[in-house]
Symmetry: C2
Subunit: 532 residues, 2 copies
């Protein structure tokens, strides 16, 4: 058949589409159920890439969402929430404030527990509102989605995926080793440090005891947050559902980790490590930041940010920090939205926002003051910048511990540190060459990989859409209960058999002995009695 006069034009258009990677025929439909806050921000790279590859993305978010807003790469589907956006904002702000409250330990624990319970109830109520929104759920069921991409940190997405009978990709780790429970991944207590234990993988006997106790405790702590989701799921799905059922439903887990930041440990085939995914987007600096760097001279700059969730700190602490920053010759770019500390030195520039990864990638950047959130740590590693770490909450203490043990940074207790401590830490990581060498070594290991983490994440989301899940990666361990998994029934049975055999053999020996020697003994006795 002749191509007709439009043939060459269509051919060129086809080639153009191929070159752009916009294979329209492969476009599939993905439902995103993200978690508000920094977790949502960290999904942007994957979302953009999936959109560019021709997929149709629908993002579910409540009207109270703070960070999840309209975007060019997806359709935002809002649903009503049982409270206002301001309530959620207040919750985020109070989270940031709480970490700077220097209270006695027990008071702190009680307050944290109350806050976690209050916030969880708030977020659970949004989830309940979503799942009971018949109209929305029906429209989603008719949406012909191929898969769900969700953050299981609060397992609302997994319930939505099960309700819609869609395969799910989970895009984050969970506390209390729930992610490893969900994947049936062995988690040896002897060398895998539990989060918040602040141990490394080389533990003394007492540290291993502590690690075991933390593991026992965390089950109780997480149960308070996660078990209400199991009840909600049971009600919505009209069958008995456990937290384990919800978490084991993932086809693929995308974890923001690797074995440069974390310690090597057992993994499962459906766990994909995408640590460092946020380093992918590196852009040229704006004129403003370029000018700051140029003005910093030979000493270069220090980048300072406590993450997207904490941009204000108490005035006294801010002044203490400002004092320390004034003692170093570098220019400090500090992301800070609070009132300007009165003692701020000339070398310190306050900014409402900073292009963290782009600044860290500049050769004049000498150090990075960070709250050691997973993203910041990876941006430090990717760009090979030594760190001064001020962990605030969640996994940040453990992240800091990992970097410190590798000689790539110094950790400070933000509540207890003095101005001098911070100044000394900064001078140490900048002047002691070993910090730069160590972070550069980590950087070269981290970046030496067969596939970029962003490509890996996109590949596996597409894989799940293409194959309607990844059943071939689901271990049969999910079909066993705990004593079967640990072979306790088999061990019991084999022990019973061995003991049974030993018992029968002993009985036979005794019987045989009596048969053989019993007569003689009786004969002897009767002989004796006759003699007497």
């Amino acid at each position: 058949m002749a191509a007709g006069p439009q043939g060459p034009r269509l051919l060129v258009l086809g080639l153009l589409l191929c070159v752009l990677g916009l294979s329209v025929s492969q476009g599939r439909k993905l439902l995103l159920v993200p978690l508000d806050g920094s977790h949502w921000l960290s999904m942007h790279g994957v979302i953009r890439q999936l959109h560019q590859r021709g997929h149709d993305l629908v993002v579910l978010a409540s009207v109270a969402s703070v960070y999840i807003t309209e975007g060019a790469f997806y359709t935002l589907k809002r649903y009503p929430a049982p409270f206002k956006r301001e309530d959620l904002e207040a919750s985020f702000i109070s989270l940031g404030r709480a970490v700077f409250e220097n209270q006695p330990f027990l008071q702190r624990v009680v307050k944290t527990y109350k806050k976690v319970k209050k916030d969880s109830a708030l977020l659970l109520s949004i989830c309940s509102h979503l799942l009971h929104n018949k109209e929305l759920m029906t429209s989603l069921a008719e949406g012909n989605f191929d898969a769900v991409l969700t953050d299981p940190f609060l397992p609302c997405g997994p319930i939505v995926a099960q309700y819609l009978a869609l395969p799910a990709v989970f895009s984050n780790a969970l506390p209390c080793s729930l992610d490893f429970q969900g994947t049936q991944c062995p988690n040896p207590l002897s060398y895998v440090p539990r989060l918040l234990s602040f141990n490394t993988d080389g533990m003394t006997f007492l540290q291993r005891v502590e690690n075991t106790l933390v593991a026992l405790l965390e089950n109780f702590l997480c149960s308070a947050v996660y078990s209400p989701y199991a009840s909600l799921a049971s009600e919505v799905l009209q069958k008995d559902v456990t937290v384990q059922d919800l978490l084991s439903s993932a086809s693929i887990w995308l974890l923001r980790s690797d074995f440069v930041k974390n310690y090597p440990r057992p993994i499962m085939p459906n766990i994909v490590f995408i640590g460092g995914i946020n380093c992918a987007s590196q852009n040229p600096l704006s004129r403003e930041f370029e000018a700051y760097i140029n003005a910093s001279g030979e000493h270069g700059i220090v980048v300072f940010s406590l993450g997207s969730m904490v941009s204000e700190i108490p005035e006294k602490k801010a002044m203490q920090i400002a004092d320390a920053l004034g003692t170093i010759p570098q220019t400090v770019l500090w992301r800070y939205t609070g009132p300007r500390p009165s003692n701020l030195a000339k070398n310190t520039i306050l900014v409402k926002w900073l292009p963290q990864n782009d600044l860290l990638g500049h050769p004049m950047t000498r150090a990075f003051i960070t709250h050691s959130g997973s993203h910041g740590i990876y941006e430090g590693i990717c760009n090979g910048v030594p760190m001064v770490m001020m962990p605030l909450f969640a996994d940040q203490m453990d992240n800091a511990k990992r970097m410190e043990t590798r000689g790539a940074g110094v950790t400070l207790n933000v509540l207890e540190m003095t101005s001098e401590d911070l100044a000394n830490a900064l001078k140490t990581v900048i002047s002691d060459k070993s910090y730069k060498e160590n972070i550069m070594r980590l950087s070269s290991l981290h970046k030496d990989r067969p596939v970029e983490p962003l490509d890996l994440a996109v590949f596996w989301v597409e894989f799940v859409m293409r194959h309607k899940g990844a059943k071939h990666l689901r271990p049969a361990a999910h079909d066993l209960n705990w004593y079967q998994y640990h072979s306790l029934d088999v061990i019991g049975f084999l022990l019973a058999v061995v003991l049974g055999v030993v018992f029968i053999v002993c009985k036979c020996c005794v019987f045989g002995y009596r048969k053989c020697f019993g007569k003689k003994e009786r004969a002897k006795k009767s002989h004796k009695s006759k003699v007497q």
Copy 2:
């Protein structure tokens, strides 16, 4: 500095080298310590690729080697052996013959044990000869190698690597779960079937008991083969070395497996799956084979090979097979070097060698009769060809079981099968469409991967050369003994503490009770006695 008149020419040459990927400056030196036989043949793809990427490869082989010969991609370094090439050849031939001897079970076990012991002694003696060859070992020590790539199936290479203090990449799995012991990889008996147990990952209680017993037994069986290497290593390295020490020395393990052939299970970060690596080289068919296919008409062809190690079978069995092959309408291409069976039908063509992967890739290929070695299975999967499997030894029975449970083939017992069994099996896999559908589904899952297995293997070998190992992937479990690893000391300590606390609390209660009520009781008693 000016470039001088030769500048442009050098520039062009440099660009040319870059385009060809022959970055001379990146060329490193790799020492290969392979195992003779089919294991060596399976390394060819990686070797060729490493050579093309500008690395300098030196292959160590004894003068008695059968399969390891001079090659264009490497320098062969021969060393004397304590026996002749003919002895090794005889050993290979007898291995092929032994599998067709239909003897009573016990006689078979004793014979196999004797053969394994004799062959291991033979191969151990080559290793000992190599390690005691002072001149050769000195020249290797002076060879400035960056790493060792070795097949640890018989752990001579690991000893060489330790002697030369070089990082090692292990290129094969091991029997008796020694590979998982070597990597400290959890290996739950409850759903990870042991080799030679012929179980799947979904086991009944009795199958799990069997799996546990096989695991207990295999330790004893493998100890006979592997412990002499520990003694040899201890002598050569002049320190106490265990088999575990030798196997845990690998930086990276390249395993010819994936989760399409094998069942999902825990893995470790330094295990890289390269199953299907042999499918990479697909070439056009020669005129001879193209002619066979063209002559086969609409029915197409069946490819039949029992692997590189078994090319002859007893006459009676060959005639039985020939009989069955004559009953199908397809043309059968049979790799067979033995005498032509007198009853060979017209549709069956005997060939001394066949381009297995290329033939399986032809759309007219209807079925594949294979001994279900790992390579054959992967070529069947890659090309989506249903299989009739006649496992002979080693992991072949388990490979066949895996394919059979996935509905991609039929397994036959080569000793017990009748001519009719084979004919029926062939007709089934060709006419029952489910076999084709299942193998095509497996094929699409297997081939849908972010990196090709050959590229992955090359990447990790180069990674180890670049970074002088992969220490960041070595789990801290290697530094624990068995009871520490399983936290038995911690559990014992915590139990002791709990029991101690319970004991003290009980004692206190008893003491308190006596203090409070003892007097009253005594008073009561004395009152009673007075009354009496």
